[in-house]
């Protein structure tokens, strides 16, 4: 190969590599990004069973049911509608009735949301950002806990 051909091959190889990386990135974004919903959004959204989403809202009062083993079920509400969630594992320290949570997982065939992670507020001052914004939009929650 001449010098020119060699250089061309190197540049071509580099571009192919970058192209592959870009393709993979966008494929992964399409496949793996998970959308955030509040319970009332689900009526209009097309969420398939098994599709990974994040579901946020407040833990509805009186819905926390602890099973005999480490499993627990509760309902997440935005005061318009609510969704039943089941979870097995250690709940975050600030998981309480009436508190904002974000759960991540997917719907089972029976309409129950099966969460594999549950996030609550970091401390008493903050609420998960998406939940706070979602509730504000719906006019359910006003910023009072802030200070």
């Amino acid at each position: 190969m001449t010098r020119k051909q060699k250089r061309f091959a190197v540049i071509l190889g580099g571009l192919a590599f970058l192209g592959a990386a870009t393709g993979l990135t966008f494929y992964a974004l399409g496949q793996k990004a998970s959308y955030f919903y509040m319970p009332a959004d689900l009526a209009s959204a097309d969420v398939q069973p098994g599709q990974r989403i994040r579901l946020g809202g407040l833990v509805e009062d009186g819905t926390i049911v602890r099973g005999a083993d480490a499993s627990v079920s509760f309902a997440v509400t935005d005061h318009e509608s609510s969704v039943k969630v089941s979870y097995k594992g250690v709940l975050p320290d600030l998981f309480r009735e009436g508190q904002g949570v974000i759960t991540e997982g997917s719907f089972g065939a029976d309409g129950m949301f099966i969460a594999d992670s549950v996030l609550a507020k970091h401390d008493e001052r903050y609420m998960p950002k998406e939940v706070a914004e979602g509730l504000k939009e719906k006019g359910v929650w006003v910023e009072s806990e802030g200070d």
Binding site: L24, D69, K88, E124
Partner: protein, 662 residues
């Protein structure tokens, strides 16, 4: 008292303005005294910022609640260590620490830059002064920690309990030393662009500064990872959280910079690329500061958010990244490009390393910013988490890791891939053996996990091969080898150690993810559970009082074969009454390189307690490997040729002889 700190900070800002302008004018008009003023001003600027920081820290130590910042983030009952570390456990204090470290690096350049050409030194310090001025202004305008309260409250509101940990003493300072350390590389790059030339001094100076920043950033990230691991009680060591990514991106591009700087130093090639990488790495540090400090992300790191801060940092971001890249676009073509080389050569290998590392940085950047972009243009709120990063980052890293051992064995200019492969035969055989042993003798080992373990060993043996080959293995006698080994330049040990550390980290990750075990169950006192050949007995929950918290401590006993307790592990939940916050104190027992990890959950209706137990094989190697990498970096920094101010010239011929022999 506190006003002294405020005043000192205003003075530091004024000095930073002087530092940003006077030397620059000096280089234009050729005034040597104006150029030389940069050093003195930089040191004074650091001294004033340090005074300001010390004043704030003492207000924390004395629990002076008349200072709003102290009142919001401290409490008189807090242990002294957390009172002091609480200084930077909040937005204002942490930005002050940021600026303190920035001015510290400026003064380092001033003190150790004696052998720099005068105009380069003046320009570097001027750019450093510009960054300092803007960030000092940011602290003074939007994040002033010196605001008084009148009347002074009697008691403070306490520090977020998650931050009341030794980790806060170590993680942020280390991380900032890394983040901000790259500002020196940035200043050197912009100074070169202002001057319109890259001289030999530039090339020699960029690598040690990159090394310093890289060593600290490695430590900061590793420490942050270990802190999250034991404090959050989730048992994970990396969550692909945007805030983690914010620190990981400068690390990746800093690693690329470290490698391209070698090419520039040794072969004076890749000059323009190295310059661009210097700019990009610090830009990513700034981006990280923006992501973490502006409150666009929710995380433990986002303290109270205030939109004006976000806009301010965004302006800083546009100013420095945009400005430096524009300067680059204008001036880069005027710079003389470096030498050419063959694709198969040490330079070629390092270019490949850069290609992989920068692409990986770009993927993480896309994944981190994508949710923000989507949210800005639509109502959709999405999150890009571990599944995305695992799918994109891993395929980029695996080939890079496979290629790592080849790099150091290739010669400069024109390498021989076949010869390198032959030299690596032994390492390859050992790695293959590790794969087979793992697959055949460890229960439940998947092919993938076994191959992963092999990859870790490949890196480790590859690094050792490099040292053996350079000591003359195969051709020289054992005595000669030992002699040559002792005489190898420290930078060679540095390379080998850093690559070996990388292998250890890979091994730790593979061990934890591939061979770990996890159990979630409800346990009642007296019950036992088996996990990965270990038997644990739950003894019950006991109340314990701490200085500013109460604790429900679950006591577990690790049982030996006969059923007798051989070790106690306690895992607790702590309630901090001031903030009505609980934290999880995971119970961790280290056995060899592995750990048993117990996290306590809520009580169940029938008198049990939810317990989550992990067996994490080799998990400590993840951070141990990072320590070895840091050691490698420090070793490289201690190399005579890099040592700042060392009489390098006279020793050069002797070293060139050793290097030539390899």
């Amino acid at each position: 008292m506190i006003e002294i700190g405020h005043f000192a900070l205003v003075l530091a800002f004024a000095l930073a303005l002087v530092q940003a302008t006077v030397p620059l004018v000096g280089t234009r008009i050729g005034d040597e005294r104006m150029m030389a003023s940069a050093g003195t001003v930089a040191v004074a600027c650091f001294a004033l910022t340090a005074l300001s920081f010390a004043v704030l820290a003492s207000a924390y130590a004395l629990s002076d609640f008349s200072v709003a910042n102290v009142w919001e983030n401290s409490h008189s009952l807090k242990p002294m260590l957390y009172k002091i570390t609480g200084t930077w456990g909040n937005h204002e204090g942490s930005m002050l620490l940021w600026v303190l470290i920035l001015t510290f690096f400026g003064s380092l350049v001033a003190v150790f830059g004696g052998n720099l050409p005068a105009s380069l030194k003046a320009n570097v310090l001027a750019v450093q002064g510009m960054i300092g001025a803007v960030f000092l202004l940011f602290v003074l305008i939007t994040s002033n920690p010196f605001v008084r309260l009148d009347p002074a409250p009697i008691e403070g509101r306490d520090l977020n309990p998650v931050l009341q940990d030794i980790g806060l003493a170590v993680h942020p300072p280390l991380l900032y030393l890394g983040y901000v350390g790259f500002s020196v590389c940035f200043s050197f790059a912009v100074a070169a662009l202002i001057d319109g030339r890259i001289d030999a001094a530039w090339a020699r100076w960029v690598r040690p500064w990159t090394l310093v920043a890289w060593v600290f950033l490695t430590g900061g990230i590793a420490m942050g990872s270990y802190w999250a691991y034991y404090e959050l009680g989730w048992g994970g060591f990396w969550f692909w959280d945007p805030v983690e990514n914010a620190s990981f991106m400068p690390w990746l591009s800093g690693t690329a910079l470290l490698h391209s700087a070698i090419v520039m130093e040794k072969r004076s090639a890749l000059k323009i690329w190295t310059l661009l990488l210097s700019i990009l790495t610090f830009s990513l540090s700034l981006l990280g500061t923006f992501l973490v400090r502006s409150g666009v992300l929710t995380s433990v790191h986002a303290f109270a958010s205030d939109p004006s801060r976000g806009v301010f940092i965004l302006c800083i971001l546009v100013l420095f990244i945009g400005g430096s890249l524009a300067l680059f676009a204008l001036r880069a073509s005027a710079l003389t490009p470096g030498g050419l080389f063959q694709p198969i050569s040490r330079e070629g290998a390092l270019v490949l390393n850069n290609l992989f590392l920068t692409t990986a940085t770009a993927t993480i950047l896309v994944g981190t910013l994508y949710p923000l972009v989507v949210e800005a243009f639509s109502q959709d709120k999405i999150s890009v988490g571990a599944p995305f990063f695992n799918l994109t980052f891993a395929p980029l890293m695996v080939p890079l890791l496979i290629l790592v051992p080849f790099g150091p064995l290739l010669a400069w200019k024109r390498g021989d891939a076949l010869a390198a492969a032959q030299r690596l035969m032994a390492a390859f055989a050992l790695a293959l053996l590790a794969v087979l042993i793992t697959y055949l003798f460890i229960d439940g080992a998947s092919v993938l996990a076994a191959l992963g373990a092999g990859l870790g060993f490949w890196l480790i043996f590859g690094a050792l091969t490099d040292l053996a080959v350079k000591s003359g293995a195969g051709s020289a006698s054992l005595a000669t080898m030992a002699k040559r080994f002792a005489g190898l330049p420290r930078s060679m040990f540095g390379t080998a150690l850093a690559h070996l550390g990388l292998g250890l980290t890979v091994l730790g990750i593979v061990g934890t993810l591939g061979f770990g075990a996890e159990k979630i169950l409800a346990m009642r006192p007296g019950e036992t559970v088996e996990i990965a050949d270990h038997t644990l007995r739950f003894d019950g929950i006991y109340p314990v009082r701490g200085p500013n918290y109460t604790e429900s401590r679950g006591r577990f006993y690790l049982l030996d074969a006969a059923g007798n307790p051989k070790a106690e592990i306690s895992s607790a939940k702590r309630l901090f009454p001031v903030r009505q916050t609980t934290t999880t104190e995971a119970g961790i027992r280290t056995m060899g390189f592995s750990q048993l990890y117990i996290s306590l959950g809520d009580e169940t209706t029938d008198g049990g307690t939810v317990v989550r137990i992990w067996w994490k094989p080799l998990v400590t190697l993840i951070w141990g490997g990072a320590l070895v990498m840091m050691l490698g970096g420090a070793m490289s920094l201690a190399d005579r040729r890099l040592r700042v101010g060392a009489p390098g010239r006279r020793r050069k011929p002797a070293e060139a002889a050793t290097a030539g022999a390899t």
